[in-house]
């Protein structure tokens, strides 16, 4: 099934996108309201929260160019040393720009 983008079609497509996205934003807390928050569930949630970010970042490092990899490595190291996000991010971006300029 296809939606024509002429006329009201674009509006319908945008509304479908908005509803699907909203379902993902609301669905997690809605489902959790039926789950008792036991210690095991807390441990699941705590482990999952870091894992979401790692799972976003891993392919970025693998599929990215050397600039991307160096940027991530620099950010990690600076963050471990200085423990402040902004210098860590700035260092990562500068390194990516430098490597890509070489």
């Amino acid at each position: 099934m296809n939606i024509e983008t002429a006329g009201h079609g674009t509006l319908i497509i945008i509304l479908i996108m908005a509803v699907v996205t909203l379902a993902t934003r609301w669905g997690g807390i809605y489902v959790m309201s039926f789950v008792p928050i036991s210690y095991r569930v807390q441990q699941f949630i705590g482990a999952m929260s870091g894992s979401v970010l790692i799972a976003v970042l891993a392919p970025l490092a693998l599929a990215g160019d050397n600039g991307a990899r160096a940027a991530l490595a620099t950010t990690a190291v600076v963050m471990l040393l200085v423990k402040k996000p902004l210098p860590a991010i700035a260092a990562g971006i500068v390194v990516a720009a430098l490597i890509r300029a070489l």
Binding site: L22, R25, M32, G50
Partner: protein, 238 residues
């Protein structure tokens, strides 16, 4: 029944403003992503009002970019829904991780805050929760900053998109990745978390390679979460 020590709940306006300020620097880069989206959407044939409507109602950059790939005289319905859902499925997990704090709020506020949940403000709130600090105000304030930046960027892109010549050579494409990584590294670190993250990263890469597109985030996050539920932290009551 175990009860965790909870930070104070509820939303303070001072905290919302704090979240807005803390994500303001990142939001400047979100303006640039938005600009790139506005430009790409205009080139794909969308009108200005449609682009603004999409960015303000959907507020999900990766999914919006992916939909442009499907754009033509007709857009296939099932791939549209599957693409948007798969890319945004991580919101389901973010909502689940926020639930222990959000459940203290009345439902209207609880679902209202979730309207602006995105990667950066969610990561910021998680870091606050890890420190035992309140994070829902940061989530809301940071989300408002990101939403404004995304909408403003989209408008700039469709209006004057050609101004930025090469954001990649300036490293600007790495801002969000570096920010998310800084949030991970700034979080709680011990052997258990390192093993969990290694499993999450490994399974994400395997899914990225062998499973359908856009499944890697959910696969990696669930793998890490399940290991965390099996290998629980030592606790006085356990």
């Amino acid at each position: 029944m175990h009860v965790i020590d909870k930070p104070p709940v509820g939303i303070e306006w001072g905290e919302v403003w704090d979240g807005f300020r803390q994500l303001a620097p990142i939001s400047l880069f979100v303006v640039i992503f938005g600009l790139a989206f506005g430009l790409a959407a205009a080139q794909a044939g969308l009108e200005g009002t449609s682009i603004m409507l999409m960015s303000s109602l959907v507020f999900a950059g990766a999914a919006q970019f992916a939909v442009l790939d499907l754009w033509g005289e007709q857009v296939p319905l099932v791939p549209l829904v599957v693409t948007v859902f798969a890319i945004n499925a991580r919101h389901l997990l973010m909502g689940a991780t926020l639930y222990p704090w959000l459940r203290e709020l009345p439902p209207a506020k609880r679902y209202g805050v979730m309207l602006v949940v995105s990667d950066a403000n969610w990561a910021l709130s998680q870091q606050a929760f890890n420190r035992g600090a309140p994070g829902l105000g940061l989530l809301l304030g940071g989300g408002i900053a990101l939403w404004l930046a995304w909408a403003a960027g989209s408008w700039l892109g469709l209006s004057f998109g050609n101004a930025i010549q090469d954001p990649v050579s300036l490293g600007l494409d790495m801002v969000m990745g570096c920010f998310l990584l800084a949030m991970v590294v700034g979080g709680k670190k011990n052997l258990r978390m390192l093993v969990i993250w290694t499993l999450a990263g490994g399974s994400s890469l395997l899914a990225y390679r062998y499973l359908p597109e856009n499944s890697h985030v959910v696969v990696g996050a669930l793998a890490g979460g399940i290991l965390g539920a099996v290998w629980m932290e030592k606790n006085d009551e356990h």
